[in-house]
């Protein structure tokens, strides 16, 4: 085999290897950094804990929950508008059961989000909303009697954040 020809073939081959390596690294880096930091599940857990923290005190359910006109958003310092506006990206559901009987409930507007979240555990689809389902037992004092109340809190989030572009 001609030596000069062999050198040429090898240098072309070497450039091909370099191009392949750089394409792999560049592609990998872009792919890695283009992924969103998904915090929706963590966010849902935080919000569920926020609700439990404000409606309970030392393991007891606060009596205020059963007052007329009780607003869980105001009581827990949660921005209600974000849950009731058109195309809301979040859903909050609070249910209180006394021996299996529903005694308090509050559902925010975007029920479709909750349905998508429920379905996502059975059917696989692209980028479903993430959520957190909490279930806790609180004590409640009524007429001198202490009883158990089951409190179910569900928070579903589809908030992905927004990139801002200035012109």
């Amino acid at each position: 085999m001609n030596k000069v020809g062999g050198e040429k073939i090898l240098s072309i081959w070497w450039f091909f290897v370099l191009a392949l390596v750089s394409a792999g690294v560049v592609g990998g880096v872009f792919l890695f950094y283009s992924f969103d930091l998904d915090v929706r599940e963590v966010e849902s857990g935080i919000m569920v804990n926020r609700v439990y923290d404000c409606i309970g005190s030392n393991g007891f359910l606060r009596e205020d929950v059963f007052l007329d006109g009780f607003d869980i958003y105001e009581y827990c310092d949660i921005n209600k508008e974000l849950f009731y506006k058109n195309g809301s990206e979040v859903y909050l559901e609070v249910e209180v059961f006394d021996l299996g009987e529903l005694v308090f409930s509050n559902y925010s507007r975007n029920n479709d989000l909750k349905k998508s979240y429920d379905i996502s555990s059975e059917v696989e689809f692209k980028d479903p909303p993430k959520g957190f389902l909490g279930s806790e037992v609180f004590l409640y004092r009524e007429d001198g009697e202490i009883k158990n109340m089951d409190v179910k809190v569900v928070f579903v989030s589809d908030q992905k954040g927004e990139s801002l572009h200035f012109t």
Partner: protein
């Protein structure tokens, strides 16, 4: 490496080998620089810090102050010639926390707390002053 060896004098042999090594080193250095640039890009830090702040606020009770280390963010802002005073923004009407590290854009994420929020820069820290909210 056999290709660079010929039957000519030793000085003729050495030159192409050195050039070959230098070019290779240059190539991998450029590749490394590219990876480093990408890993410290503004958009990544904008998203990371906007989400961190929003989650911190959601996870806090009203009337709370949180001191938050932003040294790394400051370095990125300086690299982009961005004044630190214009990096953070909070829109009280929709709870949107924005982080803008370059003049091209930024990133915003919503907090669900209605307590209110004030942001204050103290040296390398960001102080999150979460408002009073409802009357206790």
């Amino acid at each position: 490496m056999k290709i660079f060896f010929s039957k000519k004098g030793s000085s003729d042999i050495l030159a192409p080998v050195v050039i070959f090594i230098i070019l290779n080193l240059l190539f991998f250095a450029l590749l490394g620089y590219f990876v480093f640039r990408q890993s410290s890009s503004a958009s990544l830090y904008e998203e990371m810090y906007a989400k961190k702040i929003a989650l911190l606020v959601d996870n806090s009770r009203c009337n709370t102050e949180i001191v938050f280390d932003i040294l790394k963010l400051k370095e990125v802002a300086e690299k982009n010639n961005r004044d630190m005073l214009s990096v953070f923004d909070f829109d009280e009407s929709n709870g949107e926390i924005s982080v803008k590290l370059s003049s091209r854009g930024g990133y915003s994420y919503r907090s669900f707390s209605s307590c209110g929020l004030e942001l204050e820069l103290v040296e390398n820290n960001l102080v999150l002053k979460i408002g009073e909210g409802k009357d206790e």
